[in-house]
């Protein structure tokens, strides 16, 4: 079943089309990678799905329901959560409160304060931030801030999680840790769409990849199909590069 479907999704900024007539779908339980050169419209597409922006024209359906034009908080409560390319944590609040807000406000069913605290503890354990739960979020390292964003998004109990460059700016060890985290989230049954430039991660984790270029979808397929596709190599991967290695 398609959990998320987009039809002719388009967004203009002034006269410039950031995303133009992109059709896409995501199946339940899948990990879909979204790649493309800088400025290809990946983050804009995320903003359209999470309702930070409204597509015009085009429709986006989540679990068969048309969600185009809904408010971000509604989208979140329906079960779509996201992280941000540049971290947007609540910097001066303790790590635990950052996550607790997700539990208190983002879930479909109302959660009692005690439940929210319990869920927060579990999630911090899950992403490996238990030790720093009382620290103001701004004092975390970038890698941990990104983990915090993931925990915060998970606290809203999403069925679909949008990860925007989770691994950008992280070192090798941190990238591997993040890959493990993504796999763990997938194993919990959450569907994931991830924007990523770290090809190793994309190739390892994703079931399917969508390639954007100048706002248009130029390719779609399994990681193997993508690395061998001529167009993708031309516009993004570059010749003679074996990204899978």
């Amino acid at each position: 079943m398609h959990i998320l479907e987009g039809e002719g999704v388009t967004k203009y900024f002034g006269g410039l089309s950031a995303v133009s007539e992109v059709d896409f779908y995501v199946d339940q339980g899948e990990v879909v990678g979204l790649i493309g050169p800088n400025g290809a419209g990946k983050t804009t597409l995320f903003n359209l799905i999470s309702a930070a922006l409204v597509p015009k024209p085009g429709t986006i359906k989540f679990k068969g329901i048309n969600i185009t034009g809904m408010k971000p908080h509604k989208i979140c409560r329906m079960g779509i959560a996201r992280t941000f390319q540049t971290v947007k944590i609540f910097a001066n609040m303790p790590v635990s409160d950052n996550v607790r807000i997700g539990s208190l406000f983002g879930t479909y069913q109302k959660m009692s304060p005690a439940e929210a605290v319990k869920e927060t503890t579990e999630l911090l354990e899950f992403v490996g931030l238990s030790k720093v739960s009382g620290v103001p979020a701004k004092d975390l390292t970038l890698a941990n801030q990104k983990r915090l964003e993931v925990a915060r998004a998970l606290a809203t109990r999403p069925e679909l999680l949008l990860l925007d460059e989770l691994m950008a700016g992280l070192n090798q060890t941190e990238v591997s840790e993040s890959m493990e985290l993504v796999k763990k989230i997938r194993d919990k049954g959450t569907t994931i769409i991830m924007i990523e430039h770290v090809m190793k991660a994309i190739m390892n984790v994703c079931d399917r990849i969508i390639v954007l270029h100048h706002g248009k979808k130029i390719a779609e397929g399994t990681p193997q199909e993508i690395v061998t596709s001529k167009t993708v190599i031309e516009v993004y991967l570059g010749e003679q590069t074996y990204a899978g290695s």
Binding site: K71, A81, K88, I101, L104, F105, P113
Partner: protein, 316 residues
Amino acid sequence: MNITGINFKKLWGPGLFLIILAMLATLPMFASTYTIIFLISILMYVILTVSWAIFSGPTGYISLAPAAFFGVGIYTSATLGNDLPLPIVIIIGALISACLALLVGALTLRLRGIYFAIFTFGLVELIKHLLLWYEVKFTGTRGRFVVLVDNETIYYIMLIIFVVLLITAFIIRRSKYGLALQSIGEYEEAAAHMGINVTLLKVVTFAISALFMGAAGAIMATRWTYVDPYIAFYALFSFMPVLMAILGGMGQFYGPIMGAVLIAYLEELLLTKFPYYYMLIFGIILVVAILFLPQGLAGLIQKLRWRISGGKRAHT
């Protein structure tokens, strides 16, 4: 907050509050009229500051509209005071202020930072001049006389508004909505994506804060006997709450109260002792406070407490 800190706080906060409240409640029995009048003006500033801090403290939206909501309360009292009993007048004044806040909030809370501040200040001027135009055009006079109420009644009503306000502010701060307001101040966009209905929450909280300003205005008007739009919508009532909250520090619940009491006291003291240098000294104190106490007095106290407890609460 730490678990160890809660016990300490649980005993101290409400205990101290009850003692002060009991003292304030019995005061009119033996205090002079001057003291009562002085306390009324302190209470007025405390109410304005605490209600301002309910909304602007956590969200960081600097509202310069207090004078507008306060003035609406004053004018309600001036228009209806002769015909209706005092409690009803106060409730109506509070509700009109809150409705105005709902309307203005829905229209303008998408503005951020300096734009919001300027707009809210514009609101004060707008209402002032609208009223002035209306009075001159239709009633033919600029001002109105307000029904007289004795000082003790004013004092007790102020005290009641103050207590209700404190309880409301405390509940909001401790509830999940307090957390949400804080997250709006930190990163509004992220807050919306966490399932918080940011627009609704902002508008409703803005209205709650206006409710108390309106109530304070309605009762305060009876002390002034004569009001006109210039008196009712005096810009200083917009700036004072901001200054008081900043000086007191908004990180702690008691910060704005402390700031309001201190500045109100200082104002009275300087005005009586040094009438010519009053504004100058006042200005210097404010500049020094803002330069050296970025977290306000509450922040200073917090720092001292950490130092005394040997940095046990130092993080990481």
